[in-house]
């Protein structure tokens, strides 16, 4: 069942560019330029793209903050801006860069106030809060004013407030930005568990690819306001020819060079060889040839780095837009 659907979604902004001392030129910039998406209930989707690609703008159109300039958008069967209040009850939103908490009050007060704002029955509210308290370890700082919390603690609070009304969709805009490793892991672990339960659809934008690898089976990459990839991480690797690396240490240099289809010798320094293996090829024949040579001491297989793939993708998109 589709819970989010957009068709040719567009957002254009008019900007004034200085042209001469007093004259200013009006130009139209498309932040989101025809995005069509379809997300099923219970999916966990990573929304990626370089700075200024249109990620946040898309998210704001899905949550009813911004009015689209064109195209169709439907979230939970509602039209976000026109039915903003109805939609707000059914979604949770976390903005990594801005707080929705009451800055000068203890964190606990924010939870209590939002119970009223969303009109959540006390028992339901208490049950959800209990889950978050355990998973996110909130008790140690629930009585501290929000302004005195660390960024990691605050983000755990933000996550909790976004979930207390039991939203069908959770939108996260860079939820791990600026967090230390421990806090990142806490947030990721929590989201992973939430995603596994399957009753909350999660859409997150991030620059941290570890978030995506850990959490999302599906990623949508956007650049210059257009979708450049929509599919699994494996599909992304396959499409952009990511290659695994086999790093080999030998006791003595090889007498005959290795010849396996789909395998290429990338570098060789003394007794250390690095092979690149095509996405479709198997590592098996390479390993058996190496074993047969009788000099194999150690062997490591390195999975392709998603960073490399994404960087290549961004570059390709940039080249396309120039050409």
């Amino acid at each position: 069942m589709k819970i989010i659907e957009t068709e040719e979604l567009k957002k254009t902004f008019t900007v004034h560019i200085k042209a001469g001392r007093f004259r200013r030129k009006r130009t139209t910039v498309a932040a989101v330029d025809g995005v069509s998406l379809s997300i099923q209930r219970g999916e966990m989707v990573g929304y990626l793209g370089p700075n200024g690609a249109g990620k946040s703008t898309t998210l704001k159109m899905l949550t009813g903050v911004l009015q689209p300039s064109g195209g169709l958008v439907s979230v939970c069967g509602l039209t976000p801006v026109a039915q903003r209040i109805k939609l707000a009850r059914r979604i949770g939103v976390v903005f990594g860069q801005r707080s929705t908490l009451w800055w000068d009050l203890p964190l606990r007060d924010s939870f209590e106030l939002l119970r009223h704002v969303y009109r959540v029955p006390p028992a339901e509210h208490a049950a959800r809060l209990r889950t978050c308290r355990d998973l996110l370890d909130l008790d140690s700082f629930a009585d501290t004013p929000v302004r005195q919390l660390s960024l990691g603690q605050r983000m755990r609070g933000e996550l909790t407030t976004a979930l207390l009304h039991g939203p069908e969709i959770l939108f996260l805009d860079e939820p791990t930005i600026g967090l230390d490793i421990v806090s990142k892991q806490a947030v990721r672990g929590f989201l992973a568990e939430l995603g596994e339960r399957g009753d909350t659809t999660i859409v997150l934008t991030t620059h941290d690819l570890a978030d995506i690898e850990r959490l999302c089976r599906r990623i949508i990459v956007i650049d210059h306001g257009r979708v450049v990839h929509d599919g699994s991480i494996d599909a992304l690797h396959a499409r952009y020819g990511s290659r695994r690396r086999v790093i080999v240490d030998l006791d003595a240099p090889l007498e005959t060079p290795i010849d396996v289809p789909g395998v290429e010798l990338e570098s060789s320094t003394g007794t250390r060889l690095v092979f690149a293996v095509d996405g479709s090829a198997s590592v098996g024949p390479l390993v058996s040839q190496l074993t047969a040579s009788g000099t194999l001491r150690d062997l490591t297989i390195a999975e392709p780095e998603i960073e490399d793939v994404i960087a290549r993708l961004y570059q390709q998109a940039a080249v396309r837009s120039l050409g």
Partner: protein
Amino acid sequence: MGDTLRIYAKLIAAQGRSQASYRFSFWLDLGSNVIIVGADLLAVLVIFSRVPVLAGFSVTETVLLFGLSLNAFSLADLFVGNIERIRFYVRFGTLDTVLIRPLGVLPQLLALDVGFRRIGRIIYSLAVLTVALVLADIDWTPWRVVLLIATPLFGAMFFCAFFIATSTVAFWWIESGELANALTYGGRDFTSYPITVYGNWFRRIFAFGLGFAFVAYYPGLALLGRADPLGGPMWLGLVSPVVALAAGGVAAAFWRFGVRHYRSTGS
């Protein structure tokens, strides 16, 4: 409806608790507010120490108009004065966080910073009005009592509308605060004096074009039972509610248009 009001009561109470965590700043604001508005009354009194009559109005009559205007403005300022902060709400993305909540945008923004520290002004303006009423020579009738109570309320509504309409510009032009301030505070100062003191074209624009004559001047004349030196009919003293409601309608339309065209900030 009652339920919604209870939610806002909770939000406003939370805001009160937040402000209470900066106790010294709160009292300082409260005090400085009273001093600032005190200076305005002093300006009126200084003028009358030089002239016995100002554009056809005596000192007691002028202070009455001043008191009516001040009450209307202080009341409006208490509830919606905080809307002038909208440029910060737009710039720092606070508006985004308001838009994701299942409540109206404007009431939420207003509840973000209710002017408890401006309560001092209400007390002060009530005191000024009381003194003016005692000194002024008013022929009390039941209708005049109703008029006296209604005038600051509809005046406040008019000022609220003005505050909201002018602040809407911030949706497009983030640095619009000075313009909005010039218009709202200019309007307040305009209504503090009999409109007969102003030049012809200036009076036409502010008094009748924008409607400021109906905040204090015409209801004030009706209270005093005076004819308008400008030759306006007596019933002008009774149209303030109509003007206030019309202003409210215009402000609501401006606001809705503004929210629709909100463009948010980066990230």
